[in-house]
């Protein structure tokens, strides 16, 4: 099924040094316009507003995920592990390469604003008659369907799904390394060579040789640190909030018949919730930024102000609170309204939370989210049973409330707020 290139092609990559392409199908997939579109979508959305180095694209990340998967499979095959099926390797590589194909511009925010899901889009792009579909069909008529089923986690051979999206998948390994590299934050540096050497195909899933436990501990710790240092950084959250508010406001205006000074296809259809695959593929961050830039000149003040904030990076400020009950929240909103603030747009409450690792619960079977260690007697144990450190961190949620608001407006309204509320926002 594989169609080896006469000569291997490489991409120079700062994270993996070289990305090696050995199969014609992979090479052709990379050169489709659907895959090239990922160059125009940043891997970390608005994080570049916090970490200026984080300007890398989903294109780079997708190549990285492919490369890690290639290395895992190549090690499985070199070692001749009997629980691996070599005939699944092209499928696995294609799914790894394409798994992020459906991401839209500023993905997480746009998904929230328009109730979409990038996984669905990935499957549609793979299945609905694109350049990608045509290439995959060259492998076999049912190959696009197989690739899509791996991505939607329904493919019959669990180990393929596990490699592409499991607790130790190539996706996570690449993004930890890549995001650490581009942000400059060194918490994400994991010993990927060691982790890869310790992976074993075993009874339909990927497990870890017990002696690799420390490398996994380190990986989970890196993941933990990257979440709190980078992914949940309050400045990034602030820019995401503004982004969602822009989408919300523009949709409200559109639905109310507001006449936009600037509109571009397919934004209208997006607001109406009727986007085809062909239209979706026109969406990229360049278009969103261009629309926002033009909207800084709109007559709707709220939209224009939000777009200025985003484009010129005049973000919302925030205060952090350890506790915040719903009564207090209501009280704040009420006071905001009284003081002439917009209780909808001038206050956003955020409670980031993350589960570093989901442990085994006694009495239940192993879960696809768990990392299993394989000891020398071929016995499987969930890692938190063996590692003190994983057990220690696995319950940590660590969320705190963050209140985001436009500092200039709030400053003016401050005298009109009750003192108990005012002091929350006073620096």
């Amino acid at each position: 099924m594989k169609q080896p290139l006469t000569e291997e092609k490489v991409f120079k990559d700062p994270v993996h040094n070289y990305i090696h392409v050995q199969d014609t199908i992979i090479w052709r997939l990379i050169n489709t316009k659907e895959f090239q579109r990922l160059r125009r979508i940043r891997q970390l959305g608005t994080s570049y507003l916090t970490f200026h180095g984080a300007e890398h694209s989903r294109f780079s990340h997708s190549l990285g995920v492919y490369e890690i998967t290639r290395r895992i499979i190549s090690q499985f095959e070199r070692s001749g592990y009997k629980d691996w099926m070599p005939e699944e390797s092209l499928l696995t590589l294609c799914a790894a390469l394409l798994h992020d194909l459906g991401h839209g511009p500023f993905s997480h925010s746009i998904e929230e604003a328009f109730e979409m899901n990038h996984e669905d889009w990935t499957c549609r792009i793979i299945l609905e008659d694109t350049e990608i579909t045509a290439i995959l069909r060259d492998v076999a008529e049912d190959f696009p369907g197989k690739v899509a089923s791996v991505i939607s986690k329904t493919y019959e051979h669990e180990i393929v799904v596990n490699l592409v999206s499991g607790p130790l998948d190539a996706d996570r390994m690449d993004y930890l390394l890549r995001d650490a590299y581009y942000t400059g934050v060194n918490y994400g540096t994991i010993d990927i060579d060691r982790i890869l050497r310790m992976l074993r195909p075993y009874h339909g899933r990927v497990v870890v040789k017990e002696s690799g436990m420390h490398a996994i501990e380190d990986y989970l710790m890196s993941r933990y640190q990257m979440y709190w240092q980078v992914y949940f950084h309050p400045v990034t959250r602030s820019s995401e909030i503004i982004l969602r508010q822009i989408f919300r406001r523009a949709k409200e205006l559109y639905q109310s018949g507001y006449e936009f000074r600037f509109m571009i296809d397919p934004l209208g259809d997006l607001f109406r919730g009727e986007v085809t695959v062909e239209q979706y593929l026109l969406l990229d961050e360049a278009m969103i930024q261009t629309a926002f830039m033009q909207w800084t000149l709109e007559k709707d003040e709220l939209l224009s102000d939000l777009c200025s904030r985003f484009i010129h990076r005049k973000l919302y400020k925030y205060v952090e609170m350890e506790n915040l009950d719903s009564e207090t929240i209501d009280e704040i909103r009420r006071s905001f309204a009284v003081a002439g603030l917009d209780a909808d747009y001038d206050l956003e409450i955020d409670f980031p939370t993350d589960l570093p690792y989901d442990v085994f619960r006694p009495g239940q079977g192993f879960d696809s989210k768990q990392i299993l260690l394989l000891d020398r007697h071929d016995k499987l144990r969930e890692i938190s049973e063996v590692s003190d450190i994983v057990r220690s961190i696995s319950g940590i949620h660590r969320g705190r409330y963050h209140l985001y608001f436009p500092q200039d407006k709030l400053q003016k309204a401050l005298p009109m707020l009750p003192s108990s509320i005012a002091e929350i926002f006073a620096k």
Copy 2:
């Protein structure tokens, strides 16, 4: 004149680890919309189409140039060198930070296409009533003028100009390191700590302590390698050629009264050559990419084809030739026309050339482009007098002719070309 921040601010930077901001003026300049615009302009233009990691912006680079300058000045002041004037430090830092402010989207190509110059735009943005101008005026009424004169190399104190644009300036040091980091090509790794330690202010210019000679040799070699490996990479040249062709075609169409399906302000004014500072600041790579994406749907086939090539990365192929005389060129163009190809758009000839280092010519005084070594007897010598390796490489131009063309069209026309011409393009 300096206005220290109460607490130093830092930016996390993958290249310099941290960028340290200690002065209120610098902090305010960074937060202007004119400086934030640099986030939307890539440092290496289209190089990301060759090196997928090279997606970094001029914003990152400008912070880096500022940081290196800050370190040089801080070392000058700590060591109490008498040839440095501490009262010039804020001016030098501002000029270092702002020196790339006027770059447009895909700068080199747009400058060629529209006969503009980013240095002029930098000066205009500094002088013509922007947020930048206002902040600089807070230092002194004539301060914007001083900053602009450093950038246009007319400022009275040569050493300030020398730090911002000399043969060993902060600009070059940052871009070698940064472009190496983001492309993943490790030829650009220079020992910047050692170079910085070896710099001395001396009689109005920056010179190098003789014992730093090897670090300079290494720096010039890195520069040489980066030019030929990265900046002149034929795939990058190919994408720049297409970019220029798009601008050329769109301008032709505009001037001939063609009705664009999609047009956006201020592209029209750009085609007419009448852009104000305010309009110029609206230009960014997002807008250019968005226009190109929309133009893939234009009815003018040439424009639509060129835009598709650029957006979907179906670039021109190339052949390399050691020699190529003008007669042959004419013959190729003639044959192309005969064979139904467009002799203007379907063939571009490129001859990249670079002078790694411009040596001292006996009988002439020292030149501002030369690197001077200061020996322990306080005698100055131009580096190629002392370094065999610099002397050896300084005459190397190394250009070769590259012919770029659309492979699909050429393939079809091949039977109609004379065999002597055809075999040039046959793989």
Copy 3:
């Protein structure tokens, strides 16, 4: 009190890039024979038998500790923190540089074998008329005494002691970074620039600005990983056990009047426990290795066998056990004796344990081993009160029993051991 060099000297260092020496006293101390002796003592003892790259010396480490201390102090002075006393800087730097001066060859093992303490030797070398003493006296008559008191933690100004030996001291930061670099294990990579920027002198100790908490979490995790991955590696423990057995056997033989084929001054005095400072300074790892090499030819078979094992790296094997009660231990020893094994030399039981971090106990005051965070209201809190992750790991001891034994001898004795014992050692 400081005597600045006319020109700063530097040492090229792989970990800190450059070590900067700015004071004549420091420069002269480095060039004494007592300090140069540290080149002949490895930083990690026998770890190079496990990690072949770990061949670095205490000389390198001592320069590194000096450099980190210099950077901390320089930041304190640049920021003008009022809780730091600039007049203590030379003292702090000297103590940092010299703190490991008294380490003997294979320090931990020799200390255990001969009941010595390197800190005492450091103080004696500083105080008892060496080249070091003479240079320190050039500062002030009581300066050697002051330096020694910082090292023995009795100096009146606690902050100086805290910088040289506290929970976040320059010693630990250098060894984590350096040992990670030389072993190649990347768990030790900490963000030292950030940690240094976050340190504050405060009421007689060094505390951490609250926003530096994550960098500290990462530092404690690195420390945890380095202990279990490197410092407690069972192969290293095995070599240390053999080393101690050699010392023990040689001492027994010496005391029993055995005539050594090879003996070298001052080993005899060491066995008698009567070593002067002058003699102690003759001791280095070259001498110990040379003695061991010669002793491989001794007629005492036990000594000769142990020395061969150490020199040719034929170490003891080990088995790991989660639990081991004293009854089982007694039973194993008895069975060993019955089977003709030497219950003293042919079995060593090791239980490595480490406390990653010692938390604050309510009701007690802050302890010198605790890391304190300083919030923006100038309130101090012990880090585990704030950090979930530190609290989670601080109780983890993680020890397991390791039984070390000579595989070849045990193999022969196996049939003579009761099966319950034999199966412990059967692979």
Copy 4:
């Protein structure tokens, strides 16, 4: 012929990340006492006295050379190049691993002092009944002979010799990378992955695919810089001079019947030039340093002074001269004698010189020292024909005269030297 291990073993290595051992023979060779002895011999001799980090051993380097060779061969076999003979791979790996086996302590100096050659010793250790010999004989009776013939460059298949000692051999690649890593000098960083990918077996030698030319240019430049920055560093040369003087003096004394306070086997035999393989294997740097340390107490003042200088790092100073004719040298020596200095020991003249690369001479065939590029038409060209930069540097020798002397003695004799001579040495 290969005997694969049931499970691959790895060594953690800071330079190559992991060293992979897949064959039982390699594993057993590493564990011999002859190979373990390389742990006690530094890779860079006395360079650690200049670059304190350079304390790495020939053991580490030998593993590195093995690993690079393994990667080259593995790429050759994976790509199925027909000019490679897979049946030679174990031989090549063994020769790569063992090529430095015969190095003595402070190898270059001891070889010069006693007219020995490490390559001869390597062959003797391989052939004369050591643990190594026994293991190699397990492969085949004539296998030790084959390994020795590869090392002495007489093996029939030139490509095997070429891999182990050619202009682009694994030896050079490892030492550039490793010495750069341990000294901290970053000039040695070469893109080894790219170089390895570009190597091709071709008609009995290893050549480079033309598109790898820049990586080779960079490699040759790194080599050039490492020679002048590290290997020829005057402080290192100074320590080597003292080392040779010690050996010379000790031999003179020994031959004149001087009674040494301390002597150790086999130094006496070494002085007499009668050392067996068994004795040679006792020699290591620990023994040499121990002897020197003891000799600091000898009654022969010259020997004792030289040993003190070496052990306590009180090296000779030097002056550098661009030109120095033999008449001046004679005059200096005469004046030294007149002024009471020892014209033999108190002055050493050194003229380091190196040929960065030996180009092709027209009219001659290709030389085994040349690097050949293979173009896409399978034509070979010597690299300097194609690369301007290689041609430019290949004639550079760059030597300067260095005069080494004991500063204290010279200072006293200065008034007695003629002023023309005195001013050479006056600082």
